[in-house]
């Protein structure tokens, strides 16, 4: 168990080697080092998992501290790692998916000049993500939190010649920073009330010191949620994710699908005890999660860029995870997180191989019946689409159904219905994408036509592995056989503390009710697919007619509800103008003015006095005599 720090150390070592010694290796070696670093981390993760399973379920929470990081007065933070089932799930998901993506990226970034720099940033990202996941106190998690934000800034703005890329990077970092502002304030509240930031201590002391629904805890949890919205792109602070598609596709696959965006969900799961103590903030979380799901899905309906569609679908799927956490079913949230990581990464990688084949072309209107020329990509893409829309054997079905089931069970009926609508839309836009891109007549330009080729094995292998995972990923949490809920059982010790507080009754659910709910979500998904089929295969001109009829609505959705423009107008522009005014009005005019003013006025007084030296001796004599007389008068009277 002592070697847990190796998990984080290997990617960091990869970062250092590639960073400093890359001059001596060629591309192959660099890719190998990067991928092997992540592979080793994955293996260590497995070893730790095996060791963890050896412990009895309740004792599965080991904390290893290394050194005292900051010691100031009574406030002492130990840097260390906390190993428990939740961490293990995250570690395995993160390192596993990133290992596959590293292999994929080895091939994908082949002819890119910044090859080494790409892998350096990627390795740094994975090590930061692992620190975030395994940290034992809020501050170390915050280090990982911002480190991950930094790497996403670097990777989004990877092709920094493109202004749009560097702008997107800057936007991502600043929006994350706004989220971190909330996280920071929450940390202060926790630090001042509990005098420590260590998870174990805080989560033991919280229930004793505060009863359910106390104001302070609600404030802290809400601010933590602000941090989460920043990082996991929920309603207010999601604007950076669609622009983040400027980065290379493996980056989007790794960071903006599988790992970074789920950090917010992980943090909420980690602080489940605090959230249990504040039902109000749980409610807020659930509402925001559900709204984001529906809102993002609506926007995804009309997007034309493949990666933008996937970006919005990520936002909406995370909305589901947040909804899961919001209704108190943290295990369901994490389960959906895991399955989502698989099929969303797969979708992005397929998008990558399509753009690879079409020389960077991502506009779906210029694609069509690629299924014959790219069989592997086509099959894996199909499996991922089925998974995400929630069709029975695939992983997406089980995880999304679990979330919707928990929402229904905890009587959030309105949210349940919204969730269903979201699921419908998801199914629709995913299959819209599938039909336009792979089925239907080909709109590919003629000279690109012959260029389409199946990607080499290094790109195809990850696709297949992820395909299989997105198929069998769901089976570890089968709905009917409670004793067979492997993942649920595995995670339960972590969340039982939270469940005790919020007195979640493990209601014995009749099998019929569960079956009914499952069939209902199946029907909804099927409906979505049929509509998409009718729209884009049966009579392709139907969407165009619909588009004209609801032109207003279409334009609104297409321009992303003009949210970016609103933010720009409401927040960015006024702040910039304010500083402009401030700098001119206050700085130059008032302060500088007053300083120079005193200088000039002294010069003025000097000028006046200068007049008195007329040069005539008698004038001076007169003045002297005047002074003498005045003195005499003064003394006499």
């Amino acid at each position: 168990m002592k070697y847990v720090w190796l998990i984080v150390f290997f990617p960091f070592l990869g970062f250092l080697i590639n960073g400093f010694l890359s001059k001596f290796f060629n591309k192959k070696v660099v890719a190998f080092i990067a991928a092997s670093a992540i592979g080793l981390a994955f293996l260590c993760g497995l070893v730790t998992l095996v060791k963890l399973l050896a412990y009895p379920p309740e004792a599965r929470s080991i904390e290893i501290t290394f050194y005292s990081w900051i010691k100031a007065g009574g406030f002492n933070i130990e840097a260390g790692f906390l190993i428990d089932p939740l961490t293990m799930v995250m570690v395995l998901v993160v390192s596993g998916v990133s290992f596959l993506i590293h292999i994929y990226a080895g091939e994908y970034m082949e002819e890119d000049p910044g090859y080494v720099r790409f892998f350096v940033y990627l390795n740094l990202f994975v090590s930061m993500m692992l620190t975030l996941v395994m940290a034992n106190n809020f501050l170390l998690m915050f280090v990982g939190w911002e480190g991950v934000g930094l790497c996403s800034y670097l990777l989004i703005g990877f092709w920094f010649e493109k202004d749009s890329a560097s702008n997107a990077g800057k936007k991502a970092f600043i929006v994350n920073r706004i989220g971190d502002f909330g996280f920071l304030i929450a940390m202060f509240i926790i630090a001042t009330t509990f005098h420590t930031l260590n998870f174990k201590v805080v989560f033991e002391k919280a229930p004793q010191m505060f009863q359910v629904g106390s104001g302070l805890i609600t404030a802290a949890t809400l601010l933590l949620f602000v941090g989460a919205t920043g990082k996991s792109a929920q309603i207010p602070l999601y604007v950076w994710l669609p622009d983040a598609m400027e980065g290379p596709t493996p980056v989007s696959a790794l960071i903006h699908a599988a790992t970074m965006v789920t950090a917010g969900v992980y943090m909420m799961a980690r602080c489940s005890v605090l959230y249990a103590l504040a039902p109000f903030s749980l409610g807020v979380v659930a509402v925001i999660g559900c709204l984001t799901a529906v809102y993002a899905a609506s926007m995804a309906l009309v997007q034309v860029d493949m990666k933008r569609v996937l970006a919005y679908s990520t936002i909406s799927q995370i909305g589901y995870m947040v909804l899961g956490c919001g209704v108190g079913a943290f295990a369901a949230g994490i389960f959906h997180l895991m399955t989502h990581a698989f099929f969303k990464a797969l979708l992005f990688l397929c998008a990558g191989s399509v753009s690879h084949a079409l020389a960077g072309e991502l506009d779906i209107r210029k694609m069509g019946n690629l299924h014959k020329k790219m069989p592997i990509t086509h099959i894996t893409f199909l499996s991922a689409t089925l998974a995400i829309s929630g069709i029975i054997p695939f992983a997406g079905f089980f995880s999304k159904d679990e979330v919707l089931f928990e929402t229904f069970m905890s009587h959030h009926n309105v949210l349940y219905i919204l969730g269903l609508i979201g699921a419908l839309m998801t199914a629709f836009y995913m299959f819209r994408l599938y039909f336009i891109a792979f089925r239907g007549e080909s709109h590919v330009e003629p000279e690109l036509e012959k260029h389409i080729h199946e990607p080499s094995w290094r790109m195809a292998l990850p696709l297949c592995v992820l395909g299989v995972l997105s198929l069998i990923g769901g089976w570890i949490q089968l709905p009917f056989f409670h004793n067979l809920k492997i993942l649920g059982g595995f995670l339960s010790p972590v969340f039982h503390h939270a469940h005790e507080i919020s007195k979640m009754e493990e209601a014995s659910v009749s099998v019929w009710l569960e079956g009914a709910l499952m069939t209902l979500s199946l029907i909804v998904a099927g409906l979505g697919i049929l509509i998409a089929y009718k729209f884009y295969i049966k009579n392709p001109e139907l969407p165009k007619r619909l588009g004209e009829k609801f032109a207003g609505l279409y334009k609104l959705l297409f321009n992303k509800y003009y949210v970016d423009e609103i933010y720009q107008m409401v927040v960015v522009k006024p702040l910039y103008n304010l500083s402009e005014i401030l700098s001119i009005a206050v700085d130059q005019a008032v302060i500088d003015g007053s300083v120079n003013g005193t200088g000039r006025s002294l010069m003025g007084v000097g000028g006046v006095l200068r007049r008195t030296t007329t040069g005539y001796v008698q004038f001076y004599g007169l003045v002297m005599f005047l002074g003498a007389v005045i003195l005499l008068l003064w003394n006499l009277f």
Binding site: T613, G615, Q618, F625
Partner: protein
Amino acid sequence: MIPLNYYLILSGILFTIGIIGVLYRRNTLIIFMSIELMLNSANLTFVAFSRFLGNLDGQIFVFFVMVVAAAEVVVGLAIIVNLYRHHKSISADRANLLKW
């Protein structure tokens, strides 16, 4: 016996006339003469007080005043000569080089 304050009034008047001469007249020579007049009025006060206080210090002091007056006049006139040589006139207005 003439009381002391007659002498003081006399010297005061002489001193004032001297001042008028210095401040009013443009001719440097006249200025010098009025300065001599002022010094004399001071001497008068010295002698008057030594007479009424009953010790000789006052009169001794008159000698020192005379010495100073002599030195002053001599140097002053030398300057006037130079002034005249330079400006061809001894009017006090000429020397205003110090004017700002």
